[in-house]
């Protein structure tokens, strides 16, 4: 198996805003990210960090170029295949946690497993294990509103790793957290990398960048030297 978790070759992404302006989010990006590494993507707001994560996660399709993630050529797959790819290969962590407010912590963690046709008892068992990994075994039945920001992000981390993906994409994972909570979250991510995951993290938080093995700097959709 190749050691490259993500390989991008001349990837360009445009999208249209709601006011129908075309934005070039990524411009001829070429990069390679190895397995079991923590790579941070840094850059100012609007530089294309989130777009890069979304392309790697199969949420955005490049208009040109090639992208292979965990042996899957995403530039040739359809929407359905990309959804299945996300489910089985990628764990997403968002700045705003994106938990379902009406679901309990374990149910939020079990949500991707539901899409993966895993039976309920197995879902619950695995969700409880994932929550234990992030230290929330005593918060299984709490709803997001009953948890702190740090705890919510840990639930989101547990959800991201519930199906044991090889790549975790984290978009500003500490953006909404205080320093203590951010440290806990970064410790968990470090632990995931140690257990074999590849973490790609869009951030401008120096604390996050310091944890990583490498940094990719983006500016207006182009990779720039540090």
């Amino acid at each position: 198996m190749s050691a490259t978790a993500v390989a991008m070759n001349n990837v360009t992404v445009h999208y249209h805003t709601t006011s129908n302006h075309e934005v070039t989010a990524l411009n001829n990006i070429t990069l390679a990210i190895d397995y079991q590494k923590w790579v941070s993507i840094a850059g100012p707001s609007g530089s294309g960090k989130s777009s890069l994560l979304h392309v790697i996660g199969g949420l955005l399709t490049p208009q040109s170029g090639e992208i292979i993630v965990d042996q899957t050529p995403l530039h040739t797959t359809n929407q359905q295949m990309r959804a299945t790819f996300r489910l089985t290969h990628i764990g997403f962590v968002f700045q705003s946690f994106y938990l379902m407010p009406h679901l309990r912590a374990w149910e939020n963690v079990a949500l991707p497993m539901l899409a993966a046709h895993i039976p309920l008892p197995e879902r619950k068992k695995r969700a409880i294990e994932a929550l234990a990994r992030v230290g929330l075994q005593d918060r299984l039945y709490h709803r997001p509103a009953e948890l702190s920001g740090g705890e919510q992000q840990r639930v989101a981390l547990a959800r991201a790793v519930a199906l044991a993906p090889r790549i975790i994409l984290a978009d500003e994972p500490t953006g909404n957290l205080d320093a203590d909570s951010a440290t806990v979250v970064l410790d968990i991510l470090t632990q995931f990398v140690a257990q074999g995951a590849t973490v790609i993290c869009a951030t401008h938080d120096p604390l996050v960048i310091a944890r990583g093995d490498a940094v990719i700097h983006l500016h207006r959709g182009v990779i720039v030297p540090e």
Partner: protein
């Protein structure tokens, strides 16, 4: 996603929107109740009417009508004594006799008056009349307006007992020739209305023919209507078929039932169509409800898509919500209908409701189907949601 998981998600998201779905559920329930009550009321009334007709009529009787209104038409399809004699020899025929129709148009209200006359009954022709409540006498409709007026003033008819009345009897329908026959009243019976408000009608008996004959002397008689009695009710249709092939039209208990219940079926169909129309309107509102719900839950759907749900499974969840609403609404409607009918039977214990139980699963299936159809567009809308756009909105 597995079926039970889709169902669970649909149930969960449906009942999270309690406030929004209550009016729609109420609409579905009430229209379901309406449909069921119309069906049950229709079946019950139809049953009552059928029982009443069967109670009045004779299951073995076939009324034969000549297509010739004047009674003077071609000899091939006139009803006369020799024709009646030939019918008496048909297989399964117990008897045949002519009907001497009396002028009953003079009735002043919806009640008919039936008299028992003192002549001897023709036991071979109407043996069934000799059983039951009128053991000896024959019955006819009073044709004379003056007598009817007199009867109207005293419907018990007791004052008529023993009186001699005059009958004017046309020799056939539309004929200007009448037989004028004095008869003595030996009993009076006030005919009741049937459930449709129609007057019960009666035919004269064969002995009247003799009276007419006496009045007309030796003139040959042609009849507009005759009655044939089958030996068994199940042979009625076979005999009627033979008579029809001879060029006569026939009417038996089945025809009467069909005629009596036709209007009822029409009303039931109109009622059900109206209720279905309401149902369809409510279903459309489900489409609206779900479409706005999809808009409101854009972020939720976006998250689900981001973590690996396929567009198809999102569509199935929304479609499932529509079906859940349809089924729950229909079950609510059935409960309301059953409670209403139970209350009705407490108030009107003499009426036995005819509940078609097959209707319940049918309305649930129809409701689920209509709501599923209404859910197609919102489901497609959810499937087409752009996950990136919803995440960017954040």
């Amino acid at each position: 996603m597995q079926f039970q998981d889709t169902l669970r998600m649909s149930l969960d998201s449906t009942f999270r929107q309690k406030r929004r779905i209550v009016p729609v559920l109420t609409g579905i329930s009430l229209s379901t109740t309406l449909i069921l009550i119309i069906i049950i009321a229709g079946a019950t009334i139809s049953n009552i009417v059928t029982q009443q007709i069967l109670g009045q009529g004779n299951l073995r009787q076939i009324t034969v009508m000549s297509p010739n209104n004047t009674g003077l038409g071609p000899s091939s399809n006139i009803i006369n004594d020799s024709r009646i004699a030939s019918w008496q020899t048909l297989p399964h025929v117990a008897g045949a006799y002519p009907n001497l129709e009396l002028d009953v148009t003079a009735t002043t209200n919806t009640m008919g008056i039936m008299l028992f006359l003192s002549n001897q009954p023709d036991q071979n022709v109407r043996p069934e009349l000799l059983q039951g409540t009128w053991p000896q006498d024959q019955q006819i409709i009073v044709p004379d307006t003056g007598i009817l007026n007199k009867l109207d003033q005293n419907v018990s008819g007791s004052t008529l007992l023993g009186e001699t009345i005059t009958l004017r009897i046309p020799t056939s329908e539309g004929s200007q020739q009448y037989a004028v026959i004095p008869v003595t009243v030996s009993g009076v019976y006030k005919a009741t209305q049937n459930i449709l408000g129609q007057i019960l009608t009666f035919t004269t008996l064969s002995f009247m023919k003799n009276l007419v004959k006496e009045s007309l002397g030796s003139a040959p008689l042609m009849y507009q209507v005759a009655t044939i009695m089958a030996d068994q009710p199940q042979n009625v249709s076979e005999i009627a078929s033979i008579i029809q092939k001879q060029g006569f039209s026939t009417n038996d208990i089945e025809d009467q039932l069909s005629g009596e219940t036709r209007w009822l079926r029409g009303i039931i169909i109109i009622g059900i169509a109206l209720a279905l129309f309401i149902f369809i309107l409510v279903s459309l509102s489900i489409g609206n409800l779900l479409a706005s719900s999809v808009l409101q839950r854009r972020k939720e759907i976006g998250i689900m898509l981001a973590i690996g749900f396929t567009n198809r499974s999102i569509g199935q969840i929304v479609q499932g919500e529509a079906i859940v609403i349809g089924i729950v609404g229909a079950i609510g409607g059935i409960l309301i209908a059953l409670i209403s009918l139970f209350a009705f039977t407490l108030m009107q214990p003499q009426i036995s409701l005819d509940i078609p139980w097959w209707g319940f699963p049918c309305v649930i299936a129809i409701s689920a189907l209509l709501c599923a159809l209404a859910g197609i567009l919102p489901a497609r809308k959810a499937m087409r949601l752009d996950v990136m756009q919803t995440l960017r909105e954040e």
